[in-house]
Amino acid sequence: MLRTATRLTAGVGALLPLITAAAETPLNMTKGVTAVSQDVYQLHMTIFYICCVIGLIVFGVMFWSIIHHRKSKGVKPAQFHESTKVEIFWTAVPLLILIGMAIPATQVLMNMDDTSEADVTVLVTGSQWKWHYKYIDDDVEYYSLLATPRAEIENKLAKTDNYLLEVDRPLVLPIGKKVRFLMTSDDVIHSWWVPEFAVKKDANPGFINEAWTRIDEPGTYRGQCAELCGKDHGFMPIVVIAKPDTEYRAWLTNLKAEQAQAKAEEQKLLAMSMSMEELMAEGEKVYLAACAACHQPNGEGLKGVFPGLKGSPLTIGDINGHIDIVIHGKKGTAMQAFDKQLSLRELAAVITYERNAWGNDTGQMVQPKDVDARIKSAI
């Protein structure tokens, strides 16, 4: 008896290095950093263990038969084929187990559902293929895009630690406060998911959904879109940075100032002109970040899905038509209105780039003031 126990311990001991080696590769659900996510984790483990026990019993009985009730062992088959008592027993017992599971599940669910009395409200809008965050009470808003360079995705550069889980502007939230998320979408259905908060909610176009969290620990938490939303569904990650409330406040004030300053600088820009080199250099950057996912880095698009820009009547034809479609988008397609997402400078650069790259040698430059004029002329 003792010897078996020793052997068993030795066996488990031998497994340990394997387990630690696998620590890099997570194998179980995260406990997360909120009370709710911990409840969810507990519930998950409880139900998992119950399933294991049931499985052990049922499969145990089955393997007992497989080993002992073999024809080759000369067993004569019994002929019983029903037993009301047994059948009632194994209908009733699972029912009781299920009720036992349903009670804690109901409690956790009711807690998750209560979005009232929130301290911070963030409107989360999904669109193909980025997230937009708006702090309702502070009039601060911005887009959050995948920051992994295309070269890494295309295996031309070594992949770094947070490959596909990094964004240019993460969502910043205070810890210890109840944060409410209002979810909606600009085009198809997306789903905002951060495993550490146990928050996953669909963003439906035209409708709003709610979810909430209260983060316990400061840190960086990463998630992904969880509803198939088209081509780049796998490339719209979520990054949340949780900070103490004071730091969060400071960040918010800072951001407001920055955004105001950027606006002011944009006005200044209207008076001057950028050089072709400047425009092309910046334009390429913006193009790769905002346009290349659909129109492709080589400007050839995807046949039948996303139109090519190389030699297209749009990019080598009328300049105003080109500006208009970039700033207003095209209804009912994945082409969005980029005046909401890019600055005048970025818009001017990317349009110039599109008119001069890949052999579209129009030689034409678009200045921030030209874009501004088109936006205003629309009014």
């Binding site: 409840d39 038969s65 029903e82 699972p94 669910l109 193909q128 295996n155 789903s191 409708f207 899905v305």
Partner: protein, 528 residues
Amino acid sequence: MSSVAEPVDGHEHHHGPATGLKRWLFTTNHKDIGSLYLWFSFAMFLVGGAMAMVIRAELFQPGLQLVDPNFFNQMTTVHGLIMVFGAVMPAFTGLANWMIPMMIGAPDMALPRMNNWSFWILPFAFSMLLFSLFTEGGGPNFGWTFYAPLSTTYSPESTALFVFAVHIMGISSIMGAINVVVTIVNMRAPGMTWMKLPLFVWTWLITAFLLIAVMPVLAGAVTMVLTDKYFGTSFFDAAGGGDPVMFQHIFWFFGHPEVYIMILPAFGVVSAIIPAFSRKPLFGYASMVYATASIAILSFLVWAHHMFTTGMPLFGQLFFMYCTMLIAVPTGVKVFNWVATMWRGALTFEVPMLFAVAFVILFTIGGFSGLMLAITPVDFQYHDTYFVVAHFHYVLVTGAVFSIMAAVYYWLPKWTGHMYDEGLGKMHFWCSLISVNVLFFPMHFLGLAGMPRRIPDYALQFADINQIVSIGGFAFGLSQLIFLWLVIKCVRGGEAAAAKPWEGSEGLEWTVPSPAPYHTFTTPPEVK
């Protein structure tokens, strides 16, 4: 699996089959049509499997290597559609065609000409679907669940082809189901009372009613997608007063019964095989029938458990959670009954039994993950991750597909008149069993660790497991070639099979010679 045209006994009045292509094009014989269905489904299994290989090859390591994300989405979509509508469902219809008349002592299906049509429209449907992949803009890329508005406003131009293909598949299934119902209700041999029906017949009868109830709803859903996309209606467009979430309600009202359509006949198959190789009658026949019926009824009340994250009110989430959990009860009864059937039997483990036992264990594992998924608060973490992918592949591959393989091994001697190569069969079983678990079991971990489904590229912490999964996938794919070889070999020859090659098997199909003559039970048997 062709029923070889053996000379028919002289005193039978019926002629044998015609020859050549005409035999297959115009056949109204249930055995011929059954064979057509089975071969077709196997071909589709290989096509859908090839797409799975593309998916697994792309996911072998992080980064984009082989295909672009848009094509990747087409692969996941068409893989799903083909496996569901092209492989699993026609395979069960094929089994129904072959076996139901022989099991109930009928000479053929009730509506033989409709039977011919219901098969022959299928190749058109799938050609159309596959053709759409080669159109400009590509084929369907919105997932087999085709959620609006991704499948309406934002879908490729080939969506109309997808819609018509689904319409035809639906019509085919409905005609097949009607045929099954009419056959079972009207054509049972004298004395074959309801509670004497083999369970395969029972489960198929209930499946057929499910098909009649929900395939038209799917047809409605795709029709609405069609009119929303091309004719300016706004069923699912908020701007025109519609609601994209309503699409999901309609789809899953079809979709959940659909998953039982794919598993109930499997229950029937396993309920025939386990008693045969345990040499002991099935435990709890009546409770099996009632459990099947209650699963079918409950399947109409649980659809929204696929939609917990769409933002349902609390009472809705609770209702669907409780109903879903309740399904575990009749399903549990079935598993317990199978185990009780094996208990104190005299077991042997020929290939059909191996697959049937593997079915019980692995399907139950799929059932456990299903139960976990039913718990709404934790479902928020599992939803749309690889945990779900693992779950439904356990119930559909090691569940439905394993049961189909068990059925083929079990009845192959009856169909061909030859015993299959037992050694090759065992090799197929063990290769499949090991590789399928290497393929799907680690997916549970991927999902729990946070990998969303339907993504062509992933973060680095998922790399190791994905590599293991892909290796399992390739191995499972290759293992099926053994099966193909085995079946061909068995059709072409082998040890002659007795009328009843399995010692413990029960049922009318074993009273006719092997191979089953082209026409059986032209005179109804007496069932005591």
